[in-house]
């Protein structure tokens, strides 16, 4: 998947404030995301907005990238891997993924990106995919492969195994949220959900010694 032209330069503090204003407006309801509203909320002039971001799409793109840059956790290398640490890693991934996709910000952002994917031009959808679904895939797959190398997991294709993991974790959550269902999970429910998903994944792909 093409992420669509690398980010040019990191936003200044003032620019970050503007992008946060955009995020806030997104969360408050997708339809009030006008350039006027952004300028008012961020206490800046529209002219500045256009100077910094070119046009509305540029502003949206910068916002998506800004949010993505905050979500990325560092990818720590996996060295020792026994049944317990593998399980912990997977649980961490599941919890953080569920936390992300159930957050108001993510829901709002994904709504914008999905809507944008309908009308071509400037693919926010691609950026969101690259920084969401694909980014976590690239982080999980090494763990799965390390698990296989340690004899803890068995699968032929790590991509396919990851997709199953993804499905077991997310189930119907994301589409229900995107379509407007209330359904807010607290940290406990997320943890239980993650536990269940990891249990099921290990039941499918785990070797005896887990």
């Amino acid at each position: 998947m093409e992420a669509g032209a690398a980010a040019p330069e990191p936003p200044s503090v003032r620019q970050q404030a503007v992008l946060d204003a955009v995020l806030a407006l997104m969360v408050e309801g997708g339809d009030q995301l006008t350039m006027d509203a952004v300028a008012r909320r961020a206490s800046c002039s529209k002219e500045t907005l256009y100077k910094w971001y070119g046009d509305r799409d540029g502003l949206l793109t910068a916002t998506v990238r800004w949010q993505a840059s905050r979500v990325h956790a560092g990818r720590e290398a996996v060295q020792t891997l026994d049944g317990t640490t593998l399980r912990e890693h997977l649980q961490d991934f599941a919890v953080s993924w569920l936390t992300v996709i159930t957050s108001r910000t993510s829901v709002a952002l994904n709504r914008i990106a999905v809507a944008h994917a309908g009308s071509r031009k400037s693919n926010l959808g691609g950026i969101v995919l690259a920084n969401g679904r694909f980014a976590i895939g690239e982080r999980v797959k090494p763990v799965l492969e390390a698990g296989r190398a340690a004899g803890l997991l068995a699968f032929a294709d790590s991509e396919s195994a990851f997709r199953t993991f993804f499905g077991l974790v997310g189930r119907d959550i994301q589409i229900r949220l995107l379509l407007g269902e209330a359904l807010d999970l607290d940290a406990d429910e997320i943890r239980r959900d993650a536990d269940r998903a990891v249990d099921q994944f290990l039941a499918l792909y785990g070797q005896a010694n887990t």
Copy 2:
């Protein structure tokens, strides 16, 4: 989930043609879905559109319901259920669900509904959920329960079991499509995917005699 006021009366043939025009325009790109474009495409006057559907939202709502009315397959009763027929039933569900969510029409419609869910008012999202995710849930759960009654499956909560099935079938397909990835599956891939999902589901919930 509230479906949002039952459908008033079935559309006339002429009205169906109008709604099909709306669907066609949705598929061609979400942004050209203007009342003018619909009137032109359907060879009718805007005044008629407003007379029949009240306003733009009414037209969209009618379109979503119209599409939903076409997707609903009859729910046949489940009587005899052995391991083979259970598997067949689940495979049928998986195939038809994958076929639906990968169809251009469904993607376009879901995009509209998701976008609409951002700005409150007239929840298309609720209607889509009710006729998609929840409708299939209500059709699958009786089968799961029959499978449990026949000693073929083991689970405590059929809703939860269904959600796992849903996740195993859909995985990341829907979100990737909604976010604009190309990814078109042909009938063969769908069938293989459905097979895999059913295998995995039975591995998790099946009793020995499957």
